[in-house]
Amino acid sequence: MKLPLILPMMAVLTWCGYAQEERLAVNDLKAPETLRDLEEIQKALESSLPKSRSATVCIEMEDGSGSGVIVSADGLVMSAAHVATGVKKKVTVVMEDGTKLKGETLGLVADKDAALIQITDKGVYPFVEIDRAQTTRLGDWVYALGHSGGFDKERGSVVRLGRLVRISDGTFQSDCMLIGGDSGGPLFDLKGNLIGIHSRVGGQLQVNMHVPMTEFLSNWEGMLKAEFIGEGPYAQKPVKGNGFIGLATEPGKKGGLKVTKVGSKSPAETAGIKVGDLIRICNGVALQSHEQLQEILKELSAGDELTLETERAGKPKTVTLKLGER
């Protein structure tokens, strides 16, 4: 099998070591039988938990939060497509100790609920190993981590134990109980190798779904390049040109565009733009005509950011706004 590349290389070298390790004996029992079997599960979990937990993060976006897990020292994070919601979006990554870091979503696979996020603050981050060799089998003991219901520093991320109860095309099912906020969080084998990312739950209480590593690895290069792969249901592809700013302009006497109308409750109004303001530059383009602004908007979609260099009574001001949906 050809292995997709991952940075840093160290991760791959370490994985080789892991792959040669033997499976836990208790995983090859149909069910634990003795106190020793139970203790084997407990010991393995307890010893791998601190490292797994240090790499588990909360992903905060404007309207809600999910979870994720760091998989490289430079801060690459695996999460779910329905947490990332799109590519190149700004997110806040919260570490277990509450440290908040800046991040940006890279690519996602919309039909598999897989996504990558990059921590953009420079640093050396704790990370976990990916189970590339796919050593996991049906019935293996596994554990889930995640920021259930959102980040809670007093509580920390929540760990849940279970077994891998179903393996189907593109999905792992476990009986580790998940809830909102866990989405995008990691599922580990007892040695702390990452085997899945939390995706969704079933109508019945014991049904919990995870995205296996294969779905990430087979789309790795595209995701690293921030590509939007596949079609829904976990993320909707942005529609170019459906963004809406909510103002009317006329060309200014000395260049720029003079605002003649601001829509009520529009993104422009929310950003504080007023009739009479002069918009000189939009996303780096010096404006002369309304058509130029339309050209820029044609390439953007609802939710994208617009940076405007404006002037009011001779005073310059930079305004950032988020496009609404037309």
Partner: protein
């Protein structure tokens, strides 16, 4: 997203899943402790909660709010049914009730030395039960021991008439301490803890550092007469439940009271609300806590053993000799 994957290829027989009989069978030692030292608490034939046997002569602890409205409390320990169950004392803050049955040879739980065990440690709690035998559910310690503040803060459980110039009660929540204290629509709140209150904000200010389950002295006026009563505070979020959150909708049968606990040990055992109140056991079968709330589908709370011992001693000491 409440969707199910289709085209399953490999599936583990339910007997071998974490809650399945083949896995649960490995915990027979702990099950025997539940058989002898946990109690099943019913109202007539309706299951209410479980209990912890704390003395050979019939003292039991259970979750107070689950048994508060029972008409005919019945307790079963092992295979013996006790039809006379007395509620001797209640700790409203921790939501623990001390019960007594007429017994002389019960086997009380053995308390674990500490609740400070590593996360990932196995724990065992009551599952469903039959008439004669206790079943169990197993899970792990799953988060840090901590306080669970009252959801939405501590509240009296009244709605004040916004049009009135005084603090006139417009509505009394039926599950609230205000109701228990006899407050009615039309009563005017004058003082809390001896301090005059004139605006709703004054009440909020006086209650903001208080805990759910604690009592406050409240003076009110009815038909020109002033009267002072003690009112039990409750978590606002549990008195006035607004629309269920998405997480609540997916959580099934969660405990009505699930916040406002001074300290909890969190685990991942998913029972329903009626398996609350029994002991939480460690792998050695020792009692490491008492199950006090099923918060949601991913989080269950127990009172840690240190606190449980202190509560038990205090409640037993309150019983008149």
């Amino acid at each position: 997203m409440l969707t199910l994957a289709v085209g399953a290829q490999q599936s583990l027989d339910s007997a071998y899943r974490t809650t399945g009989p083949e896995v649960v069978a490995a915990f027979e030692t702990q099950r025997l402790v539940l058989q002898k030292s946990s109690a099943v608490i019913n109202d007539g034939r309706t299951g209410l909660s479980y209990g912890v046997v704390i003395s050979s002569d019939g003292y039991l602890l259970t979750k107070a709010s689950e048994v508060a409205e029972a008409k005919a409390l019945v307790a079963t320990v092992d295979q013996t049914i006790y039809r006379e169950v007395r509620v001797l004392a209640v700790d409203a803050e921790w939501d623990v009730a001390l019960l007594k049955v007429a017994a002389s040879d019960l086997l009380p739980v053995v308390f674990a030395p500490t609740s400070a065990v590593p996360q990932g440690s196995w724990v065992v709690a009551n599952g469903a039960t039959t008439r004669t035998s206790r079943r169990l559910l197993a899970g792990i310690v799953s988060a840090k021991i901590r306080e669970i503040p009252a959801a939405g803060g501590a509240a009296l459980g009244v709605i004040i008439n916004g049009k009135s110039k005084v603090l006139e009660i417009d509505e009394v929540n039926p599950k609230s301490g205000a109701k228990e204290a006899g407050l009615e629509k039309g009563d005017v709140i004058l003082e809390i803890e001896g301090k005059k209150v004139k605006k709703i904000q004054d009440i909020g200010e006086l209650l903001k550092d208080r805990k759910a389950g604690s009592l406050v002295k409240l003076t009110y006026r009815r038909k020109g007469e002033a009267k002072t009563v003690e009112v039990r505070l409750a978590a606002r979020g549990e008195l006035f439940t607004e629309q269920m959150s998405r997480n609540d909708q997916m959580s099934g049968d969660f405990s009505p009271r699930r916040s406002g606990f001074p300290r909890v040990l969190q685990h991942d055992i998913l029972g329903n609300r009626s398996v609350i109140g029994g002991p939480l056991l460690d792998l050695q079968g020792r009692c490491i806590g008492m199950n006090i709330a099923r918060a949601n589908r991913a989080e269950s709370f127990a009172i840690p053993v240190e606190d449980l011992k202190e509560i038990a001693a205090r409640l037993v000491a309150q019983v008149p000799k």
